[in-house]
């Protein structure tokens, strides 16, 4: 209640923009290639959406692949059937996202009445249904083979039709690669991710976000105050599904193919893994988790047949030892240290109270109060 709004917003906006711009170059220095950087940013959009549900709303969906793959398939099918001659990226991505949102509204309307295991199992049931429908409807979706190729969508801006496969001009950056490693795909994805990130920050700090948290912590009390918990849950579910659909649509168009695995149970599990490892209830955790796992997968799976075993071990280790995830743990330690530094020592407090005595009660030290409050909300 006492927290100042917009606190650190500008700093966050600048630092995250810098991070996204510098990422592919720093990534190059650790043997990550620009294409993978693009994919990481794309999938991160889904992880951020997934975290709105798991972290901020407290609902574990075990079926988010239906939105991811659903968005991808719809985008691909729109290109093939409706605009083979003038493949428009905006329309394909918008269509895929819209379809995922509609699906999320339907599934969400049914699912938000359930809790815990029942919620997880219902989302799993719907995702499995969609998976088997996609797998069996060979005439439309290509079945097990997926859709191997579809028109390369162009991005119309004004009179220009931009091919996102175009590279930036060449400019040698030493250990950080070359500017021409970066294709316009990265630029578009970066802009979208940035908007999503800033939007999610505003959303989770808005009244909407606070009500979600209140419902997660104590639904009964929130309902008694007069909040319609189901409506809030449904809204969170729909936004989450929409972002996941957006991510899947972008990824399908970027890859130029889509496979049935994109609607599969392992894909649903991957969002769980990314978000938990990075840290639920943090803005950057889902991005960090997605980046770390996709990077390790790319580096290790080439040499190690048992990469997924390592992934499983990391996942369980994080659950057991770092329940707040990597970003959550770092944030917690940092805030605890800041709070400690700001809090005056007991001697200083004693001295202050002695000094204050003649003049009556004074306000307690501001720094000490700010500590736990910040810990909870920031």
């Amino acid at each position: 209640m006492t927290r100042a709004r917009g606190d650190g917003g500008v700093r966050f906006a600048i630092l995250s923009a810098a991070g996204i711009v510098l990422f592919p170059f720093l990534f190059h220095a650790i043997n990550g290639y620009a294409g993978l950087a693009t994919q990481i940013l794309m999938v991160s959009i889904a992880s951020i959406g997934f975290n709105l549900l798991l972290g901020y709303t407290g609902l574990l969906s075990y079926g988010h692949a239906m939105f991811y793959g659903g968005g991808g398939y719809v985008a691909a099918l729109l290109l093939i059937h409706f605009m083979p001659d003038h493949p428009n990226l905006w329309l394909a991505v918008f269509g895929g996202t819209l379809a995922a949102t509609a699906l999320a509204l339907v599934v969400g309307a049914l699912a938000v009445r359930l809790y815990g295991i029942y919620f997880a199992l219902l989302t799993l049931a719907f995702a499995q249904m969609i998976f088997f429908v996609v797998e069996q409807a060979e005439g439309i979706t290509g079945g097990d083979d997926g859709i191997q190729s579809f028109p390369n969508a162009l991005l119309p801006i004004g009179p220009y039709n931009i091919d996102l496969g175009t590279a930036l001009p060449a400019f040698d950056l030493g250990p950080f690669g070359n500017l021409s490693d970066i294709k316009l795909w990265y630029v578009l994805t970066a802009v979208i991710l940035y908007v999503v990130l800033i939007g999610m920050r505003a959303l989770t700090r808005s009244q909407f976000g606070e009500v979600l948290t209140a419902i997660r912590e104590n639904e009964e009390r929130s309902s008694l105050i007069g909040f319609n918990a189901s409506a809030y849950r449904l809204a969170a579910f729909a936004i989450s599904g929409a972002l996941t659909g957006l991510s899947g649509a972008l990824r399908a168009l970027y890859d130029g193919t889509i496979s049935v695995e994109s609607v599969g149970i392992d894909r649903s599990g991957s969002f769980v893994i990314y978000t938990i490892i990075g840290g639920v209830q943090t803005l950057l955790g889902p991005i960090a988790g997605t980046g770390i796992i996709m990077y390790l997968e790319s580096v290790l799976s080439a040499h190690l047949g048992y990469w997924r075993l390592i992934e499983g071990l990391i996942f369980v280790a994080v659950i057991v030892f770092l329940p707040n995830g990597i970003v959550g743990t770092i944030r917690r330690n940092y805030l605890a240290r800041v709070a400690k530094e700001r809090a005056p020592s007991s001697r200083a407090l004693l001295a202050e109270s002695l000094r204050a005595r003649p003049g009556g009660p004074t306000q307690s030290a501001g720094g000490a109060e700010a500590g736990p409050e910040r810990l909870k909300n920031d």
């Binding site: 798991l54 407290g58 574990l60 075990y62 049914l110 359930l114 809790y115 815990g116 295991i117 029942y118 997880a120 199992l121 219902l122 799993l124 049931a125 719907f126 499995q128 249904m129 088997f132 429908v133 069996q136 149970i265 599990g269 769980v272 938990i276 047949g305 048992y306 997924r308 075993l309 992934e311 499983g312 071990l313 996942f315 369980v316 659950i319 057991v320």
Partner: protein, 289 residues
Amino acid sequence: MVALSQALLNGLVLGLIYVAIAVGLTIVFGTLRLVNFAHGAFYAIGAYVGLVVAQQAGLWWGFLAAPIAVALFAVVLDRVLLRPFYGKDATSQILVTFGIALIVEETLRLIFGSTTQQYPMPAALTTSVSLGAFVYPAYRLLFAGFVIVMLVLVWLFIERTDYGLIVRAGVRDRTMVQLLGGNIRQASTIVFALGAAIAGLVGAAASPIYSIAPGTGFAFLVPSFVVVVVGGLGSFWGAVLGGILIGELQSLTTLVFAPGANVIIYLCMALVLLLRPQGLLGESEVIRQ
């Protein structure tokens, strides 16, 4: 007509596998309120331990070794990793057991490779029996009888022993059992190991029918969730009824419209969750976890 009776029999065998996996899931949920995504891993470990021992010492030794090995694994898992999660929310439990399932599956892949493997079968078991209009593999009938005997034993355990009493009471009201001094902890370890042993045994016994690969455990787990949900989480007879219903439904749909066989069971699961979340035979108090 022949096709129909064959489909019914296939459905029964498939259903009995589901029942045997679901019974473990359901009694563990009933006693521990633990939602175990690693239960499929027990099936897979049993299948592979059974395979190795069967190759060395013969099929029957494999069937003996599988449940023992899996029960031991479950006890270690329970002591080392799962204990702190029993009191936690369903989400944390799903996450940690999902992680364990991942690790087990990939460890099996590391040891045995990704290829599907076949069990060595004694010639006497590869014969078929004539059932009037059609012949049916003898081993499948043997398997069905075997699972039924095992279910009777589990039922006797639940109905006739003190541990079973705690299990049954725990499904109704866990807190009350603890208040009255029931040792849920000790019972829970035993129930957890028992559920795992059943899954391990079925893993070994079913693998001569359905071949094994590292992902088989998880592949059987997901439909087993359908079974438990349809029957009612925590209910023994619910698992039995749900398993046979789902097995038959899947088998009969395959006969009529094969592409719909998998879709329909998840549709069934969704409908039950929405219309009767406690399941056909479940206790309504269990729902709000």
